[in-house]
Subunit: 329 residues, 2 copies
Amino acid sequence: MQLDILYLSREELIDLGLLDFDAALSDVENVFRMLARGEVLMPPKVALEFFSEHGVQKGHLIAMPAYLKSLGVAGIKWAAGFYSNPSIGLPHGMDIVILSDPETGRPLTVMEGALITAVRTGAVAGVGAKYLVSSNSSEATLVGAGVVGRAAAHSLSRALPRVKLRIYDVKVEKAKNVAREVGAEVVDNFEEAVRSSDVIVTATSSASPVVKDEWLKEDAVCIEIGKNEFEDSTVLRADRIIVDYWEQVKAREWTSLSRLSRQGLLSEEKVENIAYIVAQGGARGRGLKFFSPIGMACEDLIVAFRLYRRALEKGVGVKIPLWRSSDWL
Amino acid sequence: MQLDILYLSREELIDLGLLDFDAALSDVENVFRMLARGEVLMPPKVALEFFSEHGVQKGHLIAMPAYLKSLGVAGIKWAAGFYSNPSIGLPHGMDIVILSDPETGRPLTVMEGALITAVRTGAVAGVGAKYLVSSNSSEATLVGAGVVGRAAAHSLSRALPRVKLRIYDVKVEKAKNVAREVGAEVVDNFEEAVRSSDVIVTATSSASPVVKDEWLKEDAVCIEIGKNEFEDSTVLRADRIIVDYWEQVKAREWTSLSRLSRQGLLSEEKVENIAYIVAQGGARGRGLKFFSPIGMACEDLIVAFRLYRRALEKGVGVKIPLWRSSDWL
């Protein structure tokens, strides 16, 4: 008997609503609640790290499996991130998502995963902002208008509808395009923008801090989507430190949180989980907040599952056979 | 710019030589040598385990990534195994393999993985037999004529061309069919067959031992492809205990080796690695040998990579687009 899986390309996913950021925000919020209720089985990611002959890190391939019990779907994202890709015309991230039936293990669908990654990462910043920002916040600055920054801009403008969003990128054209899409303002002077912002979201590819600690308002909400974009002093003086998956953050050597923890400068007990904060209705009080999500498979899978179900409803996608009628069954 | 991946179904893989067991034996032997030379990056598998409401294990989904440095290919197998599938007309195992370019992380191909799994698992038994069996061995018995047993029969008949192969299965028709395919004999009396055999290969779905310790010849080579198909007493009195990936075997709670090790009955120092035995030219001396491979991603990937390269040469497979010309790049 022939057994098919459904293949969904990026264009098909967009057609099915991948760029519906309200839906993505709702997905991420829901999966945080599922996490807080213990409805997600998600072992730590496993990474293959690639180095040049001279020991320089070139990139990684990461296996990210998860099982969303209450939705009845399991799956994996196989995620690539290679730093020099943009210089040869390829995106930094190239991912594949597979969804599987948790009753039989049957693979249901294979889909392009890089845009799912960007969208859910932006949505995580949006959900974080929604639950961490105090009600009198009026200004937000986003730095980085690449794919993830663009997704963050869409998410933030929806998650914080009453907050003025400003966007900065060293490539001004990029910032302008994204700002136009979401009705935001372009920033010329990044320092000044940060100095007057209640929320700062960083989505850069910088390997060193882009936001100076001294620029930050006392009650700023700092959301770090890239890596190590805030100074250690900001992390160390933050009143609340929030992550998505502490065991995972700690295990990745390059995160400033893991380094500060290993150095004994940061107590693990201080680290909070965004899922519990969302489940408890938020943490909108005063004080400096630092939210540094590493990204979780469950976020990818909940978005992927919504699109897969819509694909079945609408008959979108290409059926590809696992096998036709092999006698090796 | 459009970016495609190549999809290969089971029938296409067969067309490309998946059932060429000489090639599979050679692949597995080669990847063992690569392992021994340190040319394989392969973190432990990560499993999602599924249980019924009553706590009974239903199955698992396993992420198996690896990087074959000397071949220049990385990838992952996403492997399902669900015990009750055969009762609803689905195979126990349903797997997907993805190969990725280790220079950019770009996904190259997605393929049906369950038949790759069966073939490489059979080939591991064949390579094990080839390197563990003494030159005066004359009889081998295989129990289990399912998909994996069938692959083992093909592998053993090639790996041990001068050894008389006999096949047993509770379902006699299955044993007959496989025996016919490989020119082997069907066994009526399993005990008698084991008693006269120099090599015993088990590929059953039994959850408890199928080979009695007292049946075994003093110098028997026992190769366990299923789980816990030999008695503890056999394991404990074996002169040599060989696995493929000890950290992995130890981590899986259901293996008899991990249980005996936890109970302090088996010293880890006694456990040998098949890769080093192959690299050293074999371990063909006297004494009882027990080889219990758990299966490794590198075995799947080397087979998958051979077929992928052939697919490119022959123009076989279906090109599917990751994206066509998305502006979200």
